[in-house]
């Protein structure tokens, strides 16, 4: 009897202690993101935030660099309603899915319309789903064409405006350089998300599209899309680009370019500083950058990419989480991150900022490209659609004897079946 009473007391005491603990030191804010090469990206801003908010600790959890694999990690946590993740980075294609699944917190009560207007329009639209906003853009990406200025000048070839001009220019240089190591073009053609970005740029610049966002039907089997895919297969892969690009993501394709082994290169804005860094690049100072080419009769199209910050619906600290998000995406912080990393900021005002333009003069000319960048269609079933398209693109590019029309018809039928699922989506 005596012992039981004592036990009860000890238990009560322990319980009180644990309560006291949770009041005294606030539990840390957990932020899931990818790893950055420079401390300027996450470490320093986080340290500043902690300094400004005494008692707050931010724990940064590092996920995989690949967007596809990071998606699997973050959705896994959200599926399990993990309260241990408060803030996470979100690729530009995720908001609709995360909103529809009820995973991302709607931010309208924090993120006023007037404030949204301070950002570039394309990423803001990508963060909206059914009249609510689910993320704050951190920086934007858009596909760009890089080229070897020295080689083009050497053979008096002007920077190409159309895809056929690019192919012609590359062939001319290859024939004259006679370097067995040199290739005409490098891009990202592995069976993964980047393949969608690359192929979409060809298709949209030929006045086609992946699917019709209004009618919810695939348009992959329409003539403009078919012609663009056929062009890539017949004139780029195995012609000016070696077949190895079929296994390339961004890093491998960029290394080929910075080693001086590729004339033209398609990549995101970050490649500019890498290619011009004489420590890591053999072609520093010899690099040109321009909007992507188009097909005759079309208009250049850059796939919109970029990263946002979002708050988990299962976070128990949404107020604090928002303080962190708004700090990271504030004008001052975006400026610092831009200057420190060379990434393109999501706030429009920074594109006319003297200090930014002095250090990153190329950003001024990129503003137009970012404004007109084409988002991948916004839908909660983006991932299954992407997998169908990856399968189709990879098959027709890697197996040159396949019948493009037939494969496209199959892919379109599969896509339509998936799109049917969201046709009768209820009003929010």
């Amino acid at each position: 009897m005596f012992r039981a009473k004592n036990l009860c007391r000890i238990a009560a005491l322990l319980f009180l202690c644990s309560l006291g603990n949770s009041f005294a030191a606030e539990s840390p804010l957990r932020f899931v993101t990818w790893k950055s090469e420079t401390a300027q990206m996450w470490d320093q801003p986080i340290a500043d935030f902690e300094k400004q908010n005494p008692g707050v600790k931010v724990i940064r959890e590092i996920g995989p660099q690949s967007s596809t694999q990071l998606h699997d990690l973050i959705t896994q946590k959200l599926k399990n309603r993990d309260t241990e993740m408060d803030v996470f980075v979100m690729d530009v294609i995720w908001p609709a899915e995360f909103a529809s699944a009820g995973w991302a917190l709607p931010l309208d009560r924090f993120f006023a319309l007037a404030e949204q207007k301070q950002f570039l329009d394309a990423p803001i639209r990508a963060n909206r789903y059914r009249d609510q906003i689910f993320g704050v853009p951190l920086f934007v990406d858009a596909g760009l064409l890089y080229y070897r200025k020295d080689l083009l000048e050497k053979y008096r070839i002007p920077p190409p405006r159309t895809w056929p001009e690019l192919v012609q220019g590359a062939k001319t240089i290859l024939a004259k350089e006679k370097d067995p190591q040199l290739v005409g073009f490098s891009g990202q053609f592995k069976q993964y998300e980047g393949l969608i970005c690359n192929m979409m740029e060809y298709i949209v610049s030929n006045r086609g599209n992946l699917w019709d966002d209004q009618k919810l039907v695939s348009t992959l089997n329409q003539p403009p899309a078919l012609a663009a895919v056929r062009f890539v297969r017949d004139h780029i892969i195995g012609e000016i680009a070696h077949r190895g690009v079929l296994a390339y993501e961004e890093p491998e394709s960029l290394v080929l370019f910075t080693e001086g082994k590729a004339i033209f290169h398609r990549n995101w804005p970050y490649a500019w500083s890498v290619a011009n860094d004489s420590q890591s690049s053999k072609i520093a100072g010899k690099v040109g950058m321009m909007p992507l080419p188009y097909f005759p009769g079309g208009k250049g199209a850059a796939a919109l990419g970029g990263w946002q910050l979002a708050i988990s619906r299962f976070s128990k600290k949404s107020e604090l989480a928002w303080r962190f998000v708004s700090f990271m995406t504030s004008h001052a912080m975006q400026k610092r991150i831009t200057l420190g990393t060379g990434r393109a900021p999501a706030r429009a005002a920074l594109y006319t900022d003297r200090e930014v333009l002095d250090q990153l003069p190329q950003l001024g000319s990129l503003l137009e490209t970012f404004k007109q960048a084409v988002p991948r269609p916004i839908t909660p079933v983006y991932v299954p659609l992407s997998n169908i398209m990856q399968r189709y693109f990879s098959s027709v590019l890697a197996l040159p004897d396949t019948n493009i029309d037939k494969r496209a018809a199959f892919a379109a039928r599969d896509m339509d079946r998936v799109l049917d699922l969201v046709r009768e989506a209820p009003a929010p």
Binding site: T75, S100, G102, K190, Q191, E252, P380, S394
Partner: protein, 295 residues
């Protein structure tokens, strides 16, 4: 008698709970989910019971069919190679010579390295520009370099090579254990009878190794059917779906696309195929044991 039964049951209870919780419950849950249409990203559709629909879809899904062919091709190519090489390694390791202990340890290294690490290594080896593979074949002549990971025919081969490299030592380990149970007297008797080395191997070693070989076969078949990590790191299923094995396809369906019902149906499919194969092997194993005792 009865109380000792009860005591035995009590002792077994922890393991029963463990197995029930971690083996039977997930299997049962996968079975249950495979009869539902459950799409995580579209919660308004709800979890709807659809009967056999996921299975009929799976049966007519050309991607799943190709995936099954890819997986079976992987199984029937890797296993003979693993058994052959593993057997050879075990025979060498069973001989008495200097440095045998060291060799036994070294041989096991591929098996000890985590697959994620070794697949990263193979990815570099097969890199089209800087990989060791091309350098060994063609030296510095970059114009002849192959891109194995970008080729729908070569890419599955790279996975097969990586798998055999990794698991042959495992087979060797099991076979070595089998070899050590064979009494030396049998070889003595055979050599007194004038049997050549080949005859000894053929009529003494192989028959007595049969249970060990079958066991290795069983483990390897089940494991190869579920191959996932190599594909995940080296190719992500590409190019042109050439390495899209069933486990990876199911993983993509559940974890990337949120199609829980359909993905579970794929998982159950993999489970059933390995279950059937295991039962067949176990039957053979049992009959070979009986043969052993009958003699």
């Amino acid at each position: 008698m009865r109380s000792s039964h009860r005591l035995a049951f009590l002792f077994l209870l922890p393991s029963l709970i463990f197995v029930g919780l971690f083996a039977f419950y997930p299997i049962f849950e996968s079975f249950r989910l495979s009869f539902y249409r459950s799409i995580l990203t579209l919660p308004w559709l709800g979890q709807k019971m659809v009967g056999w629909e996921n299975y009929t879809d799976l049966w007519t899904d050309p991607v799943a069919a190709q995936s099954l062919r890819t997986t079976l091709f992987f199984v029937v190519t890797t296993i003979p190679l693993e058994l052959g090489i593993g057997l050879g390694m075990a025979l060498v390791m069973n001989e008495v010579f200097r440095g045998r202990g060291l060799l036994r340890a070294v041989v096991l290294i591929p098996w000890a390295i985590p697959t994620v690490v070794s697949s990263q290594m193979w990815r570099f080896i097969f890199n089209d520009r800087y990989g060791l593979f091309n350098f060994v074949l063609f030296g510095g002549d970059a114009s002849r370099y192959l891109a194995p990971l970008a080729d729908p025919i070569l890419a599955p081969m790279t996975i097969i090579v990586a798998e055999v490299w990794k698991t042959a030592p495992f087979v060797a380990l099991i076979v070595l254990a089998g070899l050590q149970t064979i009494p030396d007297e049998l070889y003595e008797a055979a050599s007194i009878d004038g049997a050549t080395a080949w005859q000894q191997f053929r009529h003494v070693t192989l028959p007595l190794l049969r249970p060990a070989l079958l066991l290795a076969l069983l483990f390897r078949t089940i494991d190869a059917l579920r191959v996932f990590d190599l594909v995940f790191v080296m190719t992500q299923g590409g190019p042109a779906d050439a390495t899209n094995v069933l486990s990876f396809y199911g993983y993509k369906k559940i974890f990337a696309e949120g199609m829980v019902g359909y993905g579970s149906a794929i998982a159950v499919g993999v489970f059933l195929v390995s279950l059937i194969l295991s039962l067949v092997y176990l039957q053979i194993l049992k009959s070979s044991r009986l043969e052993g005792t009958a003699r």
